[in-house]
């Protein structure tokens, strides 16, 4: 049996997990990329991910991933395995969301209040999340916003930000972060700004990168916001009517807006108005 290396104990949205591997370099990489999720006092029964290299000479996709002994991925390349692990962690959290609403979106805090940026992949969520974090907003998540629909509190999930390259964020990324040839890099939010604790929700914005327009927030009716939110609410499939009711309660309780933007600075200015700051 090959030697095992413990990458660390982590926590995502209140769920403890650990990562083990048979390669020390991967353990170090996971520890680095997941640094914001690391905990010093883990719970007694964490979910265990094993990320194992399948030997020498290595096949072209040498990595396999297990979750609590169940094989989840059989063949992943070096450049993909940590991204896949992050996906598994996000899925784990989604499965155990409980009564919270899990929106596919970023969440950031300014002036003590949280704004959720819900949207599809490539809508600009992660880019905006990284930029806002760099500009002093507190980071809650870039991908999976956890909202209590009763207390309207957004919980943190400090997963690394998925930054696409080349892109508008190059200037704020520290040197030596990943391989510049990779189309994406996972950036711990604490590298570019501050992490935020749970905060009350001020509003939901649906970002839409629109070339050549001034940034503008357009209010949406609660019904329009609910319809749009269902597109970013994976819990609707699993939660059925109960999930739909939770989502409906949420959108009734907070204002929702469409955010059209071209420049990140302008988007930030517009979003500040949601938190009571100018």
């Amino acid at each position: 049996m090959s030697e095992r290396f413990h990458a660390g104990a982590f926590e995502a949205g209140g769920i403890d997990f650990a990562v083990e591997t048979n390669r020390p370099a991967l353990a170090a990489r996971v520890r680095d990329v997941f640094r914001d999720l690391q905990v010093t006092d883990p719970g007694p029964s964490p979910v265990v991910f094993e990320v194992l290299h399948r030997g020498t000479p290595p096949p072209s996709n040498p990595w396999a991933v297990w979750r609590d002994g169940e094989l989840r991925l059989t063949a992943a390349a070096d450049s993909y395995v940590v991204t896949y692990l992050l996906w598994e962690v996000s899925r784990l959290m989604f499965e155990r969301t409980g009564e919270r609403v899990h929106l596919h979106g970023a969440a950031l805090v300014h002036n003590g209040r949280a704004v959720v940026l819900a949207g599809r992949s490539h809508a600009g969520k992660s880019t905006l999340a990284a930029w806002l974090t760099h500009r002093g907003w507190g980071f809650l998540t870039d991908e999976a916003a956890l909202v209590d629909p009763e207390g309207l509190i957004v919980s943190p999930f400090w997963r690394p930000i998925n930054v696409r390259r080349p892109g508008p964020l190059e200037s704020i990324l520290p040197d030596g972060l990943g391989d510049r040839r990779d189309p994406e890099v996972l950036v711990p939010a604490s590298v570019i700004g501050s992490l935020a604790a749970a905060a009350p929700l001020a509003g939901i914005a649906f970002p839409c990168f629109t070339p050549e327009v001034e940034a503008a927030l357009s209010p949406m009716s609660a019904a329009a916001a609910l319809v749009e939110s269902t597109q970013h609410f994976p819990g609707l499939v699993a939660g059925g009517r109960a999930g739909f009711r939770r989502l409906a309660r949420l959108v009734q309780a907070v204002p929702a807006y469409e955010l059209r933007f071209h420049r990140l600075d302008d988007a930030e200015r517009a979003l500040r108005t949601l938190t009571g700051a100018s």
Binding site: S121, S221, A223, V227, T230, Q252
Partner: protein
């Protein structure tokens, strides 16, 4: 044209009334439907009463003569039926205003 009388909301449909509009969730298909104020007003009356009673109830609340309302009510009920939202109907079309939730996690 209404082919279901009395037109009745299918029990698989969850309704969220938000202000004057509504959003429907069909737990059989996962589809969501956005109803404007007029459609919402009609939808909420489809509780087993006859089309005539729906028209009469709307006429009372809107002060519009029943004769003027009847065609719009029948058209809306026909649309609901085409979406499979009423008991005894099945979905026949893929109109705008209906959306399948994303399965992205």
């Amino acid at each position: 044209m209404n082919d279901v009388d009395p037109p009745t909301r299918h029990p698989a449909i969850e309704t969220a009334v938000l202000g004057t509009e509504a959003v429907l969730y069909d737990e059989r298909s996962g589809m969501v439907h956005h109803l404007n104020a007029s459609a919402c007003a009609i939808w909420t009356l489809l509780d087993g009463r006859s089309v005539g009673d729906v028209v009469a109830a709307l006429s009372r609340t809107t002060d519009v003569p029943a004769a003027e309302l009847r065609r719009d009510v029948l058209e809306a009920i026909g649309n609901f039926g085409a979406e499979g939202l009423l008991t005894g109907t099945t979905r026949r079309s893929s109109p705008t205003g209906s959306r399948k939730p994303s399965d992205q996690a």
